[in-house]
Symmetry: C2
Subunit: 527 residues, 2 copies
């Protein structure tokens, strides 16, 4: 069926959705009915995980309309178009191929005479070979010594995703004999960022990865100069300590100043690039190519789960549909992502970019203004830390914030203590279970200051353990959720024109070509 791109408010099912009776989750989540919902409202995900939406503000009536909406919005068809190579990124007139880094769901995608799946696999193989040589000592520093450390230089999607994934697997890798090299990250143009990282690493035994698709990112090129300075000062040859991840057409691709260059292309957006060489180089060097491959396998399995046409069996699509219901019908402005795992401490920061940069738009894919709200504010911190921080507002504040919990049955390292009859991991899990029910059901108290209204919706993704496969599946789940929501809102989730104006004005400030308010701010900051 040919796809038709319609605005959300052109869908009949969206009108219907506005009129379905609202669900009182305080009631539906109580007693045996609540138990039944937790058992029923669950969808399998990749890597043995499950998306449980029992505590979301939906029931069979709401779900029936969401199913209609998925069909009317042709979500499956649009996803198929995307992975078959249609120009989904209308603003920049580009295909959207990040899923192709981890598997092939449809037709061969050919661009500029190249089979793109083969191209991405080839780059992965080149990285794997390079990483293996570094680990084996075939590639060494000038003194013939092994490299011990890898430092990624990048910002935005070249930083947040790879950094979140590295932190997520660092302890797992150490506990499983997979730790090959320490990784560090330089992102901010703040000179203290690069200086502090460079002081904390052994530069003589470090490989620096310069990551910029265009090869023109201000922060990244500045930080490259910073690093080259330090290497030179230490009597080292920068060209023997740096590799680059860039596009084949960028000025970095063939400048000879790097040990090697690995390539992505214009069909992979920065915030979707963790599956490409942007994540692949640093993660393969840090943990070995097999670990990166396992991440990709988990992601590929989740991508396949997202092809399921029945939304009630498709965790990524269902999550997307419920999110749009919460945003556009129930009117909630934000979503909190709350992983009960310290290893996922920076995963919410990655999702913040993924979601807010993709769907924080006011025009549809044809450049026409839309009359409904689009992407929500995304924020989050790991539990149980967040419980002792901002959960007060979530429980008793005036603004309802839908919640996305993530929980793991086992810790990554497996080291634990039994205190008062339970392990720390059990305490961690008990807390996330308790929070879901506390948010949903609340608790009456005559003292209104101690009263909990409940009615705060949440979902939880449950997994056995945060392994590379589970992490890959989580990454793909949120990417696919964002994609399906973009289809529903009819926005282009793959460009980011909103970041341009600031760059342009910053250049004017540096060139001292300002007047009015900008000149006074520049003077105040003594630029």
């Amino acid at each position: 069926m040919a796809v038709e791109w319609k605005n959300l408010d052109q869908l009949k099912s969206f009108d219907e959705l506005k009129n379905v009776k609202r669900v009182n989750i305080r009631e539906t989540m109580s007693g045996e009915n609540g138990a039944d919902r937790v058992r029923r409202y669950s969808v399998p995900m990749a890597a043995g995980m499950a998306y449980n939406y029992a505590a979301k503000q939906v029931d069979d009536d709401v779900l029936a309309v969401l199913v209609k909406m998925a069909e009317e919005a042709q979500l499956t068809d649009k996803y198929r178009e995307l992975y078959n190579g249609a120009v989904i990124n209308t603003g920049e007139k580009r295909m959207v191929l990040h899923q192709l880094c981890r598997g092939q769901l449809g037709n061969d995608v050919i661009a500029d005479g190249v089979n793109k799946r083969e191209f991405y696999v080839q780059q992965q193989e080149r990285i794997a070979a390079f990483a293996d040589k570094v680990h084996s000592g075939e590639i060494t520093n000038e003194a013939g010594e092994k490299f011990t450390t890898v430092v990624q230089i990048g910002i935005g999607g070249s930083d947040l995703g790879p950094r979140a994934l590295y932190i997520a697997l660092e302890n797992w890798a150490k506990a499983n004999g997979k730790m090959k090299m320490d990784a560090h990250f330089i992102s901010n143009v703040d000179p203290d960022d690069a200086t502090a990282v460079l002081k904390s690493v052994d530069v003589a035994h470090s490989i620096f990865i310069l990551v910029s698709k265009s090869g023109t990112t201000l922060e990244t090129l500045t930080n490259e100069a910073f690093v080259k300075n330090e290497l030179t000062k230490a009597g080292l040859d920068p060209a023997k300590h740096m590799i680059t991840c860039t596009s084949e057409t960028s000025p970095l691709a063939k400048n000879g100043g790097y040990m090697d260059a690995f390539f992505m292309d214009d069909y992979i957006g920065g915030r979707y690039s963790s599956s490409s060489v942007v994540g692949g180089a640093v993660l393969s060097l840090a943990f070995g190519p097999d670990v990166f491959a396992a991440i990709l396998n988990g992601a590929a399995e989740e991508d396949r789960a997202a092809t399921e046409t029945d939304p009630l069996k498709n965790p990524d699509m269902l999550d997307a549909l419920i999110g749009v219901y919460e945003r556009n019908v129930l009117g909630y402005p934000a979503t909190a992502v709350l992983p009960y795992s310290q290893a996922l401490s920076r995963f919410p920061a990655h999702l913040q970019q993924l979601d807010m940069e993709s769907n924080g738009k006011s025009v549809n894919r044809f450049g026409e203004p839309v009359d409904y709200v689009t992407g929500p504010i995304i924020f989050g911190e790991p539990g149980t830390n967040g419980q002792h921080s901002f959960y007060q507002l979530l429980h008793q504040g005036k603004t309802i914030v839908p919640l996305q919990f993530i929980g793991f049955r086992s810790s990554q390292i497996g080291n634990d203590v039994d205190i008062q009859g339970s392990t720390s991991q059990q305490k961690l899990c008990a807390n996330v279970a308790a929070q879901i029910v506390a948010f949903a059901c609340g608790k009456d108290d005559e003292n209104l200051n101690k009263n909990f209204e409940g009615g705060r919706p949440s979902s939880i993704i449950i997994a056995d353990k945060l392994t590379p496969e589970a992490l890959g599946a989580l990454l793909a789940h949120y990417e696919n959720k964002v994609m399906f929501q973009g289809f529903l809102w009819n926005v282009n989730s793959f460009d980011q024109e909103g970041v341009q104006l600031g760059k342009t004005l910053a250049k004017k400030v540096l060139a001292h070509e300002t007047d009015g308010a900008l000149k006074v701010y520049s003077d105040l900051l003594k630029i």
Copy 2:
């Protein structure tokens, strides 16, 4: 004048505020008028800083009503009541004395026969003496060797604030010869958190600080057991490696299991406790007592600035008033805190707790429901990193999010590179200046996908450099802003009953005393 505690919607000036003409900041911030605003709309802060609100959605008419509102709500009088020792925390029937840790603005405050200012100073002096002895080698480990490392065990206010402050000054301390000991933090009950930190430090040369006011915090006691296990396994005596920061009445105060105990009391809430021994112990050990004293001096100076009765000369009060205008009249649901300094990477996480836990309430100080929205969602990341992440939504999304920038003229370390005619620090400052104007003024484009509506309000705090004094002033500024907003909303900003229900239910899960949905979740998580 006796203070009267009224709800926001009982104030005549609030009605008036709703009817003042809305400001079009796109217009007012353009041309010479914009330049004039940037010069005029600035209030001095402590430590030579300034709060500049030129790009906020206010003009002289709005400000005039905000001034009336400050008077009608008796903000100065309420602050005076607070620092003179009134029972401002109505829920828990407690005084609120965190400002007294850093100076005395009013009467002597006596509780239980003790002069509280003297008590707090005494504890600071005890910590200073202890830290000096550790640094000089008078206090050593069992082998007579110097301690090199300090590890804070705490969660919520015992973690976020002290951690944010430590990270904020780590590079400054290294660059200024003030680095005495490395600090690490264990917070989450996730066993991987404690395990990973313990593996990364040299426990034989570490002092662990157990921080829990009540001495009953689940996470903290569990992590204490974790640490004691590791110390014992390493053949070390836990009592020779641990100190505690707690209240004098807690079970930890006199249990003999610690090298020493330092005290706070019930008049200092967790999220306000960075100025007490909770922040004092770790920061004095890490950087020396003089650095902690300088933080307190900066905070005390800002506390004094907050006593100014004219809101237009009082940066903390004015920030609070504008925030309430944005939340309750303009209807914005969230505020983003955007420090242009990598050193402040965790400062927004601290403010998230400070603000959302204080004012995320639905009842007033008398326990009566309020009919208006209260505390906003708070989130943020350092710039320029955020520019490459969620700024897309801030610039072009459907939801307007007011912004709070923080900018510094100089870096902390002073190491920099000149590339294309400007240093990294200049690029950093140019970006924050550019963002303010881009958000306020926008830019027309026929292609609506590249169009910037503008009209996005922001303020900026400008300082020379992130020094201990500046950091203390920033800390106090936000504490005082939150306090004044609590006065305006007539909520109790100093309790947190919303965190209780989850704790109660988690205990039931661990005791296997659950039914319904909670039992099924517990089973799914295999607790």
